[in-house]
């Protein structure tokens, strides 16, 4: 069988079209704009302890055609944890609390995805993974909402880089006692439960 120029051009066009939509993409969550953040909150008698961490990095592999294959690892630099009170911040980074010098990274590495539902560009799922904080690792399952923003990287980078964005949102609670975070502090002074809210956007530039 000989390929005519027309059929060759058609085959080439089909392969280009397929490569534009198919296959998993690796999204980089290092955000030079400082928008990516993890917010935390613990109840306390006078005022709840609230802060954020914006030293986010990591990668998530996502395939818009097969969202269930989602997997990845998100890293938060412990040194980026911030609360507005300077003394509280010093304690937060100290040995009894997060001990950020000895344990510089807070990580979540996915192992399983379940209860996935996709509606258009939005996907909700329960993601199970290994959460590491202050050197202790626990397997937890967190609800996530993923929004795939095709061709929106250009709008975020002032047109400098074209590509896709993946927005990940999650809200879950952990117990500080399970990670050795100042177990001596009574829970009526500082709550054991820490509410975490992740607001992350990853970029997959087009090569």
């Amino acid at each position: 069988m000989t390929l005519t120029p027309t059929s060759l051009a058609l085959l080439l066009g089909i392969s280009v079209a397929l490569s534009a939509v198919a296959g998993p993409q690796s999204f980089d969550f290092k955000d030079p704009k400082g928008v990516n953040n993890a917010a935390f909150r613990l109840d306390a008698p006078l005022e709840s302890v609230s802060g954020t961490a914006n030293g986010v990095s990591g990668t998530i592999t996502f395939d818009a055609e097969n969202p269930a294959a989602l997997h990845g690892r998100i890293v938060i630099a412990a040194a980026s944890l911030h609360v507005p009170n300077p003394m509280m911040k010093e304690h937060l980074h100290g040995e009894q609390w997060v001990d950020s010098k000895k344990h510089p990274e807070i990580t979540f590495e996915s192992t399983k995805v379940s209860n996935m539902k996709t509606a258009g560009a939005e996907t909700t799922a329960d993601v199970t993974g290994k959460f590491t904080l202050r050197g202790a690792t626990k397997e937890i399952t967190v609800p996530v909402k993923i929004t795939y923003l095709k061709d929106k990287l250009g709008a975020r980078s002032s047109g400098q880089t074209q590509g896709d964005l993946l927005v990940v949102r999650s809200k879950f609670t952990i117990k500080r006692s399970e990670y050795g975070i100042n177990p001596g502090a009574p829970s009526d002074k500082v709550a054991d439960e820490i509410e975490l809210t992740l607001s992350l956007a990853g970029a997959a530039p087009k090569s």
């Binding site: 954020t52 911030h82 507005p84 009170n85 927005v167």
Partner: protein, 91 residues
């Protein structure tokens, strides 16, 4: 001395109260930065942008009032003039 202590007590109380009120009468701990919530236009993500700003907390107010109380109590005890001896003359 008594007057000085009492004046200092009033100054400490008034000063801490004025500072607390002037920085927003915040009923929590002192802050040196304040979170301003912003939204990323493209992704819709909200994030906190911290502005350096001093906000006096209740512990500063409490400390000022405690110092004022201590000065006030001290003024009751330390400022007393010793009683003048009465010159009795015997005629």
């Amino acid at each position: 001395m008594k007057r000085f202590l009492r004046a200092s007590a009033i100054l400490a109380a008034a000063g801490s109260l004025a500072l607390w009120l002037a920085t927003g009468a915040h009923r929590g701990w002192t802050k040196t930065s304040v979170a301003v919530e912003k939204t990323d236009e493209v992704t819709g993500l909200t994030y906190a942008d911290y502005e350096k700003r001093f906000v006096a907390g209740v512990e500063i107010l409490a400390a000022g009032l405690a110092v004022a109380s201590a000065l006030g109590v001290a003024s009751c005890f330390l400022g007393r003039r010793p009683a003048k001896p009465v010159n009795a003359t015997i005629h």
